[in-house]
Each structure stands twice: as structure tokens, then as C-alpha cells.
């Protein structure tokens, strides 16, 4: 039974890291959001699997909270506050080309592997991969933050970093106090809410949500 959970968790981790890479390179903003939802579901799946073998209701609660906040609430906030035209667009002006971004993501994957291996000794017995791949996911999301220029993929990058951190967290501290989880679960939708309002306002003014072009000053007409 444990072997099955182990293999299944490994598969979930592999798919998790794939979603992290996909969020860096996918062009449609709507698709980016969908991939983020998938990633959050995979995170909660990993929490459920780790919570199953040495029974830990904290991890189950974490999984449920993750689904509620990141797979339901945040997408809903972002969908309803940011205009639909933003999601239909393709982002063509990434600061790094897709192949270069992909190769950087691989490099970060290897960095995560190298950094995570020594930490694995401290991790939960069931999940030697959570630490390495969680750190890799965090670094790749950081790359996404640097590569993407639109507001929505950038906020998704921040949330993706948080997902990576949680992936490490559920392996290191299976009995993480629930109050911290709940605090984060309330914190993150609030972040999404604020950024979405901001993006909506910026879109009204300038007709785009490219955060990259906010760096230069512009005279108001």
C-alpha cells in the first residue's frame, strides 16, 4: 500500500514540476491560469498522499484549504475582476524567448535537485522528492516572474512560488499547525484580489496589463 502511495506521489511531483515549467512558457494567459489551477490540485494531491501513509489530518486539512483557496477562490477572483479580453490574448513579448526560458527552467530544475538532495535527510520518510522538486518549483516560478510581462502571469508566478514552498513544507513538517495554513489561505486570495483590482484599473487606463511597460514614465494626454 505504501509503495503505491509512494509511486503515485512521485508521479504527482513530476506533473507538478511540469506545470511549473509550462507556466513559464505557455503563451495564452487563460491557459496559464488553468495550469496554475492544475498545479494547485497537484499540490493538494501530494498533501493527501503524504497525509495518508503516516496518518496526518493536518495535511488533509492543508489539501482541502489549498483546493478551496487556490483552485476555486483565486481563479474566480482573477476571472471576475480582470476583463475577459486579457485572458483571450497571447503574450508575445516575453523578456526571454521560449527556448531560452525552457533551458533556464531545466537549469533551475537541476539546481533544485542539487540543493534539495542534502535536505532530503530531514524530510518526511515518504517523500524524498518533495524537497528537491518543491525548491525547483519555487525557482522556476521565480524565473516566471522575471520572464512574464503581463500582470496576471506575474501574480500567478508569485502564487506558484508559494506552491513550491508548500510542496517542501508538507514534506518537512507534516504536523504544521493549522492556524498558519489558514492564515496563508486567507492571505493569498487577498493578494490576488488586490492585484486583480490593480490590473483592472491599469487595463482601463492603458488598454493592456503589461506590467513590463509600467517601468517607463508616460505623459498623460
Amino acid at each position: 500500500m505504501t509503495a503505491w502511495l509512494y509511486h503515485l506521489n512521485a508521479l504527482v511531483l513530476g506533473l507538478f514540476i511540469l506545470t511549473a515549467i509550462a507556466m513559464v512558457v505557455v503563451r495564452q494567459i487563460g491557459a496559464c491560469l488553468q495550469i496554475f489551477v492544475m498545479q494547485s490540485l497537484l499540490l493538494s494531491a501530494s498533501a493527501f498522499l503524504l497525509g495518508g501513509a503516516p496518518w496526518s489530518w493536518h495535511l488533509f486539512a492543508l489539501g482541502c484549504v489549498t483546493i478551496a483557496s487556490k483552485a476555486v477562490l483565486i481563479p474566480w477572483i482573477l476571472r471576475s475582476l480582470v476583463p475577459a479580453q486579457v485572458y483571450a490574448r497571447r503574450e508575445l513579448s516575453q523578456s526571454v524567448g521560449v527556448p531560452a526560458a525552457l533551458l533556464s527552467a531545466f537549469a533551475l530544475l537541476l539546481v533544485g535537485y542539487a540543493v534539495g538532495m542534502p535536505l532530503n535527510a530531514a524530510a518526511h520518510s515518504l517523500s524524498p522528492g518533495n524537497v528537491s522538486l518543491g525548491i525547483a518549483g519555487l525557482l522556476i516560478a521565480l524565473l516566471q516572474l522575471a520572464v512574464r510581462r503581463e500582470a496576471v502571469p506575474q501574480i500567478l508566478a508569485i502564487l506558484g512560488m508559494e506552491n513550491g514552498a508548500f510542496l517542501v513544507g508538507i514534506a518537512i513538517a507534516p504536523n504544521f499547525p493549522l492556524i498558519a495554513e489558514l492564515a496563508i489561505a486567507f492571505d493569498v486570495p487577498l493578494l490576488a484580489f488586490i492585484v486583480a483590482i490593480l490590473a483592472r484599473a491599469v487595463y482601463r487606463e492603458t488598454g493592456s496589463t503589461e506590467a513590463g511597460s509600467l517601468a517607463a514614465l508616460r505623459e498623460l494626454a
Partner: protein
């Protein structure tokens, strides 16, 4: 001895005889999905018979490569057939002559000759398609190599018969993360290598957009028939590697008796049929990518393959 030879011949006959049928079924299903009637599933056989009865025309400027290539393209999938477990799960004569890497290189030789012949034919669209095929080929190659290396990490071998046994005993090997990710990567490679839709449109005949098809523009008569048949067999061989070695290593004959072989033939046929239906779904639901987006598709396959390798190295 005689039995092993007979089994080998049986496998060759399976690939040789049924590969056009797979192409026909794929075409028919695609037409059905598009609410068209389409040609019957035996149309590839009729095409081949018609082409074999015709005279061949060769361009004046062409060299021996042009005349030699159809035979190479026809024979090479058959050579690969000898290396892989088509119907039996016990090794036959040539099982240890070459591994999966060798099979890849042997198939690459046929692609090499086809490329040369396309340029040799003198048709302006030939070199265009040839260079595009080379582009797809060299993008796909690192993915294949990473996939095979990961396979060798997992199964400690790249001999297809040994790899296949590794997934079967014990069964939990089959569900490892790296294996599942490998399957995804290999499936994407399969689509790219056989000129299927996200990469190339096999039914499109607009010269400027053609990749695979335009290489055969100058061929006619029996030469074209051999090239087509070789193409069908290449698809069948890659499908067999995908199914029997990596995805579903079950349903093969474990003894050389005639009932067991008949059963294995039927089961492998059904497996290929299922793969064909999967490809129909993919081809009918995706659009062909623009030429410079192919790198993205193959890059995604590469990402999957690298992730498979990393999860394997992590010891997951």
C-alpha cells in the same frame, strides 16, 4: 532453430501485411470524425497495387541515390522489426544485435537517404520539405536520447526485450513517475517523427506547408509505392516500440506455439488499433502548429523527458 526463424517471419509478415491497414483505419476514422465518408480502410492496399502496376518516371538530373532510396526506406523498418518484440516476449535471433538506440539510428539512416533523394530529385519543394524534416529530426533527437537514457537508468538496459520484461515484473515498476512521464514524452516524439498533426499535416497537399509529404513529390510508380509502404511500416514499428516495449508490455506470446502466436497477433493488433484511435483524437482536436512553433512542441516533449530523468535520479 526453424521455429525461431518461423516466428521472425511471422513478425515480419505482421508488420509488412498490416501496416497499410493501420494507415487505412487511421484515415477512415479521421474522415468519420470530420463527418465525411472517406475511403475504405483497405484503400492503402489498393493504392499500393495501383502504384506497383504503373511505370516509374525519374528526373533526368537524378543520380543513383534517387533510384536506391525507395529500397532503403522500404527495407529499414523491416530490419528494425527484427530487433524489437513485435509478437513474442522472449528474444528471437536478432534481439541482442542492436538496442533501441541502434533501432533509432537505423531508422535515421532511412530518413537520411530520403532527404538526399528529395534533394536529388530536383523539385524545388523537395529540399524545402527535406530541410524541414531535418529540423524536426534534430529537435526530436535529444528527446529520444534522453528518453532512452532514462529507460536505461530505470531498466539497466536498452535492449527492448529486457526493458519490456522490467515493466512487467514487478507490476509496480510500471507505475513509477519516470515511466509515466517517459510515455508522454515518447508519444509526443512519435507524433513528431511520423509527421502527425501538431507537427505536420499528413493529409495536407499545399506545397508551401508540406513537411513530410513533399519529399516524395518526384517519385512515381513502384518507387512511390515502396516509399509509401515504408512510411506505413515506420509508423507501425514506432507504434510497436511505444506499445510493446514502453506502454503496454502485456499480451505478447510467451511460447512459440501457434495458438499463442495467433492470440498475440490479435492482441497486438487491438493495441495498435487503440493507439490509432488515440492519434485520431489528437489529430482531430488540435490544429497544425506553425513551423516555428514546432520547437515549442518538441521543447515540451523535452521538458517532459528531462523531468522523467530528474524524478528517476531522485530515486522516486
Amino acid at each position: 532453430m526453424a521455429e525461431a526463424a518461423a516466428l521472425n517471419l511471422w513478425q515480419l509478415a505482421f508488420i509488412l501485411g498490416l501496416s497499410p491497414l493501420f494507415a487505412g483505419i487511421l484515415q477512415k476514422c479521421k474522415e468519420l470524425v470530420a463527418s465525411k465518408r472517406g475511403p475504405g480502410i483497405f484503400q492503402p492496399y489498393r493504392d499500393l497495387r495501383k502504384l506497383f502496376a504503373k511505370d516509374a518516371v525519374t528526373p533526368e538530373s537524378s543520380t543513383w541515390i534517387f533510384r536506391f532510396t525507395p529500397y532503403v526506406v522500404f527495407v529499414i523498418p523491416l530490419v528494425v522489426t527484427l530487433l524489437i518484440p513485435v509478437l513474442t516476449d522472449f528474444p528471437l535471433f536478432f534481439a541482442f544485435v542492436g538496442d533501441m538506440l541502434a533501432a533509432g539510428f537505423i531508422l535515421a539512416a532511412s530518413g537520411f537517404f530520403f532527404t538526399l533523394a528529395a534533394i536529388d530529385g530536383g523539385n524545388p519543394y523537395g529540399p524545402m520539405g527535406a530541410s524541414r524534416t531535418r529540423m524536426v529530426g534534430f529537435l526530436v533527437e535529444p528527446v529520444i536520447i534522453i528518453v532512452l537514457f532514462t529507460v536505461s537508468f530505470i531498466a539497466d538496459s536498452t535492449i527492448p526485450y529486457i526493458v519490456q520484461q522490467h515493466w512487467v515484473h514487478p507490476l509496480s515498476n510500471f507505475f513509477t513517475a519516470s515511466h509515466v512521464l517517459l510515455l508522454i514524452a515518447f508519444f509526443m516524439v512519435l507524433l513528431a517523427e511520423t509527421g502527425r498533426i501538431p507537427v505536420d499535416n499528413p493529409s495536407g497537399h499545399f506545397e508551401l506547408a508540406m513537411i513530410d509529404e513533399s519529399k516524395a513529390l518526384e517519385f512515381s510508380g513502384p518507387a512511390l509505392a515502396l516509399l509509401k509502404w515504408g512510411g506505413y511500416m515506420k509508423f507501425a514499428v514506432l507504434a510497436i516500440i511505444f506499445l510493446n516495449v514502453l506502454t503496454t508490455p502485456w499480451g505478447l506470446a510467451s511460447t512459440g506455439t501457434i495458438p499463442a502466436m495467433l492470440l498475440a497477433t490479435a492482441l497486438v493488433f487491438l493495441k495498435v488499433l487503440a493507439l490509432v484511435l488515440l492519434i485520431v483524437v489528437v489529430e482531430s482536436s488540435f490544429a497544425k502548429l506553425r513551423l516555428f512553433r514546432i520547437t515549442d512542441f518538441v521543447g515540451a516533449a523535452f521538458a517532459v523527458a528531462v523531468t522523467a530523468m530528474v524524478t528517476e535520479l531522485l530515486g522516486l
